[in-house]
Symmetry: C2
Subunit: 239 residues, 2 copies
């Protein structure tokens, strides 16, 4: 349980401890944690304190609690990973599921911007993945994804890639994406957009720049998406 000087409440220390267990792979995706009672006695705190830590983790989607069964490390599946981080939808709110089209994948050194955003050294190797995603029979999104090779060894050998990449990161590399920071702006279709998305040059394009953060708080993926928003919108709820 350790003791830190900066003074955090007990339940916070339990929280940090449990998050560390998950982020270091002691408990892996979809595995059950020990019961509240077992955790409480092994950590020497009351069940209520463990419960408060677990409640906080559940509200951040790090774990899932199932009454009568137990507490499980969150497991992504195609559906949940997609619906959590894929924000494109029909106007009015109806969900949309994209398919994947052509892709290309390559290794190269990181450029200065990528190195800064990924907290790696310039010229550290990255994997660059480009793919087109289709919605209802038409190309809708063109994605460029940059990953530090050190965290995803040989990811360029996986084929085919799943629709929701975060399931692959979790299953094969023990990297749990728990947060994403996105910045959006409008742009105009350039030559590559026009051919990839089958649009006239100059059509409006929504560009999304994402930095994905894993459970340990590391930035682990950069993703730029260029979207045709003629039929789809980017949907957000602000609370």
């Amino acid at each position: 349980m350790d003791g830190a000087p900066g003074f955090r409440p007990l339940y916070r220390q339990v929280y940090d401890h449990l998050v560390k267990q998950i982020s270091t792979g002691v408990w892996k995706a979809a595995e059950a944690l020990p019961s509240e009672h077992a955790l409480a006695s092994s950590l020497g705190v009351s069940q209520g304190t463990v419960r408060k830590a677990l409640d906080a983790m559940a509200s951040e989607n790090l774990i899932e609690r199932r009454q009568g069964k137990g507490t499980y490390v969150s497991q992504y599946n195609e559906q949940s990973a997609l619906f959590r981080f894929f924000r494109m939808a029909h106007p009015g709110g109806e969900k949309v599921i994209p398919d994947c089209g052509e892709k290309s994948i390559s290794r190269r050194p990181a450029n200065a911007t990528e190195a800064r955003k990924l907290a790696i050294k310039p010229d550290d190797m990255v994997v660059e993945l480009r793919r087109t995603r289709w919605v209802e029979g038409r190309p809708a999104i063109f994605e460029m994804i940059v990953l530090p090779l050190a965290l995803f060894p040989d990811i360029d050998r996986y084929d085919p890639l799943p629709n929701a990449l975060y399931t692959l990161y979790q299953a094969e590399f023990d990297i749990n994406i728990v947060q994403a920071e996105e910045e959006l702006h409008a742009d105009i279709a350039r030559k590559e957009d026009a051919s990839r998305l089958d649009l006239p040059l100059g059509s409006p394009i929504l560009q999304i720049d994402r930095i994905a953060i894993d459970i340990a708080g590391r930035p682990v993926e950069l993703r730029t998406s260029r979207c045709d928003t003629a039929r789809l919108v980017y949907a957000v709820s602000i609370r």
Copy 2:
């Protein structure tokens, strides 16, 4: 405390009760609620149960808790209301504060779409507000806001309007905005955008369509913003 058949836990009933007190104006913005102990004994439940309800309300920004002082209904100020619902920022994340330029305001009957989205009858009167918002000396956003007149009587007589309208809704009309649903898409500058935002025709424009929801769960405002994203981005954090 009432009793509902559908069966909600006690703390949930306390939560609903307290939210209703706020949404019906029993406790107004910035006022203190009774202490946890006082609420517990007046409602005939334990302090822990009241606490759980208040914690939930605090996590939804309905109230603010101050240790040693008390629990207060959330009060918007220019800063907090802006930073919560205004998502435009500099690339990289630095916050931005807009100023207001010219505005025009008028009354008219709602059209069919507006009536549906605001859950009012077609031809019920609405107030339409148009304004330009400036960032760092240049026009950046053109907004069109639609409000049901029934909820905002004579709002068109207020002048000048505050930068963050939600402070006005709260202070003058007891309407607390707690949530907003937004849909974004890319578009091309039309004639009105070009003149309002001082852009060439055909420039990329980010359009944001918002429905704002108040504490009682009612849709109370429609807002369409057309933004020049040459210098600003729309920033979101997904957790």
